[in-house]
Symmetry: C2
Subunit: 409 residues, 2 copies
Amino acid sequence: MTLLRSFVSSANNAETDFPLNNLPYGVFSTDGGPARCGTAIGDQILDLTACEAAGLIAYGGTLQTGDWCAFMALGRDAWAELRSWLQTNLAEGGNTALAAHLVPQSGAALHMPFRVSEFTDFYASRHHATNVGTMFRGAENALPPNWLHIPIGYNGRASSVVVSGTQITRPHGQLKGPNDDAPRFGPSQRFDIELELGAIVGQPSNRPISVAEADANIFGYVLLNDWSARDIQAWEYQPLGPFQAKATATTISPWIVTSAALQPFRTSTPDREVPLLEYLLEPGPMLYDIALSVGLTPSGGSEHIIARTNYSEMYYSSAQQLAHHTTSGCPMRVGDLLGSGTISGPERHNRGALLELSWGGKEPLTLPDGATRSFIEDGDTLTLYGHAQAEDHRIGFGSCAGQVLPART
Amino acid sequence: MTLLRSFVSSANNAETDFPLNNLPYGVFSTDGGPARCGTAIGDQILDLTACEAAGLIAYGGTLQTGDWCAFMALGRDAWAELRSWLQTNLAEGGNTALAAHLVPQSGAALHMPFRVSEFTDFYASRHHATNVGTMFRGAENALPPNWLHIPIGYNGRASSVVVSGTQITRPHGQLKGPNDDAPRFGPSQRFDIELELGAIVGQPSNRPISVAEADANIFGYVLLNDWSARDIQAWEYQPLGPFQAKATATTISPWIVTSAALQPFRTSTPDREVPLLEYLLEPGPMLYDIALSVGLTPSGGSEHIIARTNYSEMYYSSAQQLAHHTTSGCPMRVGDLLGSGTISGPERHNRGALLELSWGGKEPLTLPDGATRSFIEDGDTLTLYGHAQAEDHRIGFGSCAGQVLPART
């Protein structure tokens, strides 16, 4: 696949996250006005709410809602049709009248692109599960016996999902060190990130579905940072899993990169150590080659990239996770968000959480200015980046950032 | 508190679940018509959608939505005002013109009384936690070290919450016995109930709140059966908690019994074995004396009560659970549903799950017709009942029933 050229000139360079090949969907506003649906093209946003209001496209008013759920609910034919219309009309020599509906990204505020119905988080990178398991339960119990058979997941908290740029207040919680007699209540001292990709369910189901059906039901993907209080987690998570440790916030990037845009970058899950049950078998490559990185910016300082990894490190794809999610008959709804789980690779610098990067605080990271980090400090901004790289262009996700504020007093 | 007499004569006997003292809120329809908001009074429903449409009451159209969330969002003054208006106007000698808006319960279909925002389930009955812990982890590890300090909870699946009367299809899932080499995929053989009370959040919060604030934010309660596939649970739940084992369905009773109606029945949580942290201390009695029971009706057979217990057996109240839920800053929304956790008492017949009643299948129950049950069999109907008993009346919850159908083929 080569670069598709647009009459929006900023979309035609190899560095932009948003060439005509991408066309991610988001929600934006200008000057405090109402939330509008749009697609990113180069350094511009095409205002699709305005395009629908002007009669250029017609999707039953779904683009007037300031939320992509209603459009997603229209189904795959509508998804394909809008993408095709955009690629035709925004092309070089296309419909330059659309320029009237372009808004510079620099002047727009970005909002949650969709209302999250429910949020499920998985634990599906083998390197991450092995690293965390080793720290929480010892090397001999690192990978639970079910891990090679089940895409392990748990339900998270949809109300806590926020868009990139939202400041995050350091949480309080019950804390108990291994040598403490009793727990105390206070601010988390081990507040962390989790570098993930989030898959967005765009079609409902109310019965068990196959991996192929699940793949077809995924509308697109966002970067996802599942903020995690490791000290709260360590004390609370047995026997029913993480709860308040994961409920402060989960940040997503504002642009939904569609499954359609990612098709050229499909890649396979790794070879299986033990065979999967039939319901989890993949009919084709279900991962994507997406380069991911994490930047840490101390308050007043400059950004340092602390991790680089790739979505292709996952042991289970989002399609497998979604299929597993439906095995019990669990109804899935438009707007359900599935976190891939932290994505770590084999090397130290491939780890997607500070817990792993600093090995539980035993091996702090050193920043360029000489400061060290085991976990997040107040004022730090953590930013995720991601893109799929083609020869002459990239399909970018933009960024997914959050600054951590001091705990409430 | 004595019986408040109503001009609806069926509301004036000691056996009805719905005297004028109760006034629970639900959603109903007749003859396949639209869903309407109503309150149960004796064997009738007062159609509050019609009352608002007729100008008898005015709540900004919230009672036209076929869902109690919009009314709940109006806040506590509105809650108190509507209850007061109903108790005045439905009283003996009250406004008998309301009779025009009474609908017999026998001719009405009952629907979900509110849209569940998110569903959280707790694990907060000491007898239940001890029994299950003994079976899953051995007597010496029965109660996890955090249990006496934290109202242990996990996020469930809101999309799977259904109203009483909905049939439940036995789920499939990954199953692996302790002596099996590998898991297999098949219908759950250990499908179970959990007898719980569900608390409904009627006011939002976006910061940590106190137990007193939490108590004030709870609009009311329903009976709740958290259907659980014990064999799926045993294999999947480590390390991140129950997932598909709990995602088939959770059934709630159709009438929201308000906190206001339950005030005369407040009772205290038990003495603490270890002191709680300050944020969990209760400013007064936060449990309620609510008698609960479970009936099992085999297909074509008659009902047998298999368990009797009381909500006052809880170690943590819903107010404590909700306060804990907010410690991390987790935003709570109108329509959030908090399951109390299975409610078991000290004796065998007080246990709120078949897992405990049959001790993991080792001590099957014998039904009056000689049949035995370790877990639910296809065609069985399981029904929860609950009421708070005053001297001359009761505040009843109605029933919470579901029949289990065979697994999909």
